[in-house]
């Protein structure tokens, strides 16, 4: 089990949140809280960079859905970037590959 590190930075199009480590039951709440503190403006794009994500369970998916809801409430978009193969497979099984906009990496997002 790896600890979860969440770092944020602002770009011209909106905030980028980088998630490193395990997004599981023990740590998913941290991402939810971090994202809920973000102030998003209409038209902005929230990028959740998952390139260094090592594990994601249903709690992690819940946190991603909460982030999506937070963005939508502000009139902003949400993009998942650098989704690891395992997590992409899970997102596809549960149909969320069609709910989230998914980009290869944070730069193209």
């Amino acid at each position: 089990m790896s600890p979860l590190t969440i770092t944020g930075r602002d770009t011209t199009t909106g905030p980028v949140v980088e998630v490193v480590g395990d997004l599981d039951y023990a740590h998913a709440t941290a991402l939810r809280q971090q994202v809920e503190r973000l102030t998003l403006r209409p038209g902005q794009r929230l990028v959740v960079d998952l390139a260094s994500l090592e594990f994601c369970d249903s709690s992690g998916i819940t946190a991603l859905l909460a982030a999506r809801q937070h963005a939508q409430a502000a009139g902003a978009d949400i993009v998942l970037s650098g989704v690891p193969t395992n997590t992409l497979r899970v997102l596809t099984i549960v149909g969320l590959d069609r709910v989230f906009t998914i980009r290869p990496d944070a730069a193209t997002a």
Partner: protein, 449 residues
Amino acid sequence: MCGINQDPEPSGTGDGTGTGTNAVFTALLEDSVEELYESAPCGYLSTLMDGTIAKINTTLLGWLGMDRETVVGRLRFADLLTVGGKLYHETHFAPLLRMRGEISGIALEMKVTGGGRLPVLISSVVKHGSEGEPLLIRTTVFDASDRRTYEEELLRRKQEAEQARAEAERARAEAEQARRQAEADRAQLADALAVLQQSLLPASLPLVPGLETAVHYHTASANRLGGDFYDLFPIDDTRWGFFLGDVCGKGPEAAALTSLTRYTLRAAAFHDPEPAVALTTLNSVLHDRYTATGDPRYCTAVFGIVEPGAEHDQATVRLASGGHPPALIVRAGGQVDSLPTPGGMLVGVLPTAPFTTAEATLAAGDTLLLYTDGLTEARTGPTRKNLYGEEALYAFVAARAPSAPQEVITALTGLLGSFGDGLDDDTALLAFGVPAARPHTLPATDHLR
């Protein structure tokens, strides 16, 4: 005394020191017996045998604050005592004195003029005449105030110690009571959890004519309500509803979601047993209850209808999946198929979600298996990068095909056990199938018995 009287040089030496010492001795000699009696550091009194006071010294009169005139010849010894002392004197002191002729160290209390009382120690002796007849009683009285104070202090300390002991005992009893209460609370909570858990899963699967069924539920933690669920229940005379799924999260909140999911699906099945419709209903219910209120919660689920054929030689299955791994069908011929339902969305995330229905026919000897991802997400290595996975599951099942439902479940239960600590999530397994056709002739070995 003799030595002093015979001092050869009472004053002749002129030695100042010697003269001073002699003066002290002279003063002692002048201390008459009468003076000694009256001013002794203890009380003296003599009484007639009936107790009438004949003589009393000044020391005792001073202690009692009385005049000699009011005492001598007028009062008896017992009159000087407190009520309690008088009683004790009458019942113990006097009879014992008459019997033994002497008595010593008896604690009594004497009345002091003005209302006080004086604790004393009394010793008495009977003086006899030449013929041995008792003449009078001589009594000494010692002031026992200090001793009484000391005894009272001892008593007080003893009472304090006893009180402290009693308080310690009470505290211990309270702690014991609290411990028992905590244990009772824990037991009650465990009971409540067990009852809740039972409300989330069927106690046992019903008997379905024409179908063999088997199930296994692995709980990751005895103290935690499970987040997986399954059910199998009759819809009408020919059709049976079934579902299996996994809610997000853990603990009581997951259990509440499981409960809502289970009873929504059961109710929806009676309203419209079309699988995609039942999941759509569940999606609306969960979305309105959770996600729409800012608390995204969801489940994955497979919901289906199975209709065994009238001849019990096959069964028709229609099922829809909401974000759940596809069902497996272990064919009688040994082949393993999946029953994909592409596009099935997590249930409860979106206000409207697409669900597609798939259909399959189970022939005799075919077994359909539903599972939750506790099985495929079990760790097979030290990290979460080594998960069991669907490919391994398919290979495991195929290696044992064909298998009846109970055989599949038994083999997978053994597989779950082999994961050890790698299995850290709840896992539900549900299998059903049409029994393989029985051979019409019994094996030869049976004929030989």
